[in-house]
Amino acid sequence: MTNNTFILQSSPHFKDKDSVPKIMYTVIASLAPVVAASLYFFRFKALALLLSCIVTCLVTEALFLWLRKKPLHSLRDGSAVITGILLAMTLPPSLSLEFAIIGAVVATTIGKQVFGGLGYNIFNPALVGRAFLQTAFPVAMTTWIPPAALKIQTATFATPLGNLRFQDAIAEGTLTPLKDLFTGNVGGCLGETSAFALILGALFLLSRRVIDWRIPLGILLSLTAFTGSFWLANPEKYASPLFHILAGGFLIGAFFMATDMVTSPIIPRGTWIYALGIGIVIGLIRLFGGFAEGVMYSILFMNAFVPLLNRYTRPRIFGERSKG
């Protein structure tokens, strides 16, 4: 008989193979079509923004871990890379690199590390970075260029939503065709233009059960109901729900930002409230707010409610008698 020595641990002794880094790398893989589309449409500008965001996020994270005397291995969990990619995907292609770097520093520090790093932050880090840039450099953040594939030479170019909101696109008859929105041959942030690429990545995430289907569905339902009721009442003035879904940051927001596990609720009932809330706030901002686009602020707005939602949506325990 061999002299085996035994490990002592508490049950369960089987564990699923999935882990935090695996989830993070799945998210990164799911962003491949979006990144590819951004590189195709915006070429070198996209590449430069993407690299500077990722590198800055990693460097800032490393610096913070070192300052907080934390092991550096959590750099490898992939979450800093995701923040970098997501931030880059929400930037206008014409943005100069120093702004992108500032955004990435803010995203990593204010968005994530000040709360204690991965798992502890309240707001989506990439969106915190973007919100900071939007407030600090409003002009740079709303200057758009046409995608390279369009082969037009203009200094500025309106996004489909900007066109709708500020240039009376419906009355003028210049509303962007849905087909262009779907392929992505329009102006906009790096990663938000191609609905096709975004849906591809989203389907991958859903099939791997990395994101909660309730979130995109809830946002979709409430945004459709909200914009749809205005559209039905006055199609001369308001765009259709389909336009709102395909244009702007809806898809990247609903599938890649709002679904961030750390900053979305853990209990299904809370998740529904969160998702429905995001859709309504998007609609409110797009139709009546001061901006053409409202995805970023609506997600950050609902992020703030997540701790409350988690606290007040305790599910009924199995066998618990309903009161009264």
């Binding site: 002592l8 641990q9 049950s11 299904p268």
Partner: protein, 439 residues
């Protein structure tokens, strides 16, 4: 037939192939047995023998003290060499009676039961079950006589025979279902008589089709039915099983009695039959010895008190790289630090394998998988946080006491947080506080 099931739960790898097709073998009684006087939670039995006494096979050597304490019997004939603390698979040393085996297996009583077992009164059945020290064989080892004594104001309608064996690797119940289906059903019938229930339902997971077919054939002679259940963990957890079969929820803090149900494990049903029909005390049981770390995995019939060492040697020994030894299943079993511990009534399996290196623990990323898979619809990550920060009021309000420690949450957790550990800490702290208050 559509397989029934409950909400949530997980699908861990089964690994039942190691032993599923292996017929039960008998382990030769060892030279020495150590029989713990406590084999479940509660009070230890009072020893009835002392050093130097001669005992016979099946002789009662420990008397159950209270309602929740079962009697224990000698599993060999021979001489008592000590009554002292000994290693126990539960973790801490427990008073045990050590007996050297004289190899004769002198039976303690050889009076044959002449009466038809089915003509006994409920009280007689309970008495015989109690006398034989029968406990639940699924793992928790709850005294069976208690389960057969429903309070007067709670009429029992259904006896459920739990043939799920939802823990991976274990196949002892499956083998019993294949090899002794009549005994299980007869035991179920006795349980039905004892509790005054109307019918029997045998629940079998759909990965045990062979057993299911045998039972469908054999049930004809009894007033009952066989139900097919989905293969899902923890299908065999009492409350989830009742819900899957009857769509009834056992109220929080309550017992199956509250919904008119008594659940007995398949192995327990057989033990009831043996106790009532032959007066045979529970001094041996079937266990699965399995896992990649065991040379020749087997299902074996083992005398209670046999050291794990003998059991493992009978199965060819451990592989060199085996570094985790478990009593029970991989989801809820208890790790052992040594092979020098005795088999007890609740030992459903002895497992060994080469454990993977422990993975890094990450902060909770709030993925919600623990919530999505909890069969008790708790919020494990939140509970773990409440316990960690010692907010026991919140932990109790969020249902930490309802946790059955099935391990689904921790199995799924990508951050590898020891959630079940925190549940146990919370439960212990709350119960200790309550005991202090009432004292």
């Amino acid at each position: 037939m559509k397989a029934k099931t409950f909400a949530h739960g997980i699908h861990p790898p089964e690994f039942k192939d190691f032993t599923a097709e292996k017929a039960i073998e008998s382990l030769p009684p060892p030279e020495k047995v150590m029989i713990p006087l406590l084999q479940h939670f509660g009070k230890p039995a009072k020893p009835l023998v002392q050093k130097g006494d001669q005992v016979n096979l099946g002789q009662k050597i420990g008397e159950g003290q209270t309602l929740f304490s079962a009697s224990v019997h000698s599993s060999v004939s021979g001489k008592v060499i000590s009554v002292d603390y000994y290693n126990h698979p539960g973790g801490s040393p427990i008073p045990a009676v050590s007996i050297t085996n004289d190899g004769q297996d002198h039976p303690f009583s050889d009076k044959e039961e002449t009466k038809d077992p089915f003509s006994f009164s409920p009280e007689e059945i309970r008495q015989k079950v109690k006398e034989a020290g029968v406990v639940g064989m699924g793992g928790a080892a709850f005294p069976t006589a208690v389960k057969l004594s429903p309070p007067k104001d709670k009429p029992i309608e259904t006896i459920i025979i739990n043939g799920c064996e939802c823990e991976p690797l274990l196949t002892s119940d499956y083998r019993l279902m294949l090899e002794a289906p009549e005994d299980i059903l007869r035991g179920a019938e006795l349980a039905r008589i004892a509790t005054g229930a109307k019918r029997i339902i045998v629940g079998i997971e759909d990965n045990k089709k062979k057993a299911f077919e045998i039972f469908q054939d054999k049930i004809q002679d009894f007033s009952g039915e066989i139900a097919l259940l989905k293969t899902k963990y923890p299908q065999g957890a009492e409350k989830n099983l009742i819900y899957a079969l009857l769509r009834r929820e056992v109220p929080t803090g309550g017992l199956p009695f509250d919904v008119g149900v008594v659940v007995q494990n398949a192995g327990t049903a057989k033990a009831i039959w043996d106790a009532v029909s032959r007066g045979k005390p529970l001094y041996e049981r079937v266990i699965s010895v399995s896992g990649q770390g065991i040379m020749e995995p087997k299902n074996i019939l083992v005398r209670i008190g046999t050291p794990f060492k003998n059991v493992v040697e009978f199965c060819g020994g451990l592989k060199e790289n085996a570094d985790i030894l478990i009593m029970g299943g991989p989801m809820m079993g208890i790790v052992q630090w040594s092979l020098d511990v005795p088999v007890v009534k609740g030992t459903s399996g002895i497992l060994a394998w080469a454990a993977p290196r422990p993975s890094l623990e990450y902060a909770c990323i709030r993925c919600g998988r623990c919530v999505e898979n909890c069969p008790m619809t708790l919020v494990p990550t939140q509970l773990a946080k409440y316990v960690k920060f010692d907010d026991l009021t919140a932990a109790e309000k969020w249902g930490v006491l309802d946790c059955v420690e099935c391990g689904c949450c921790q199995y799924m957790c990508p951050s590898k947080i020891p959630l079940v550990h925190w549940m146990r800490v919370g439960k212990n702290r709350i119960i200790t506080l309550k005991q202090k208050k009432s004292a």
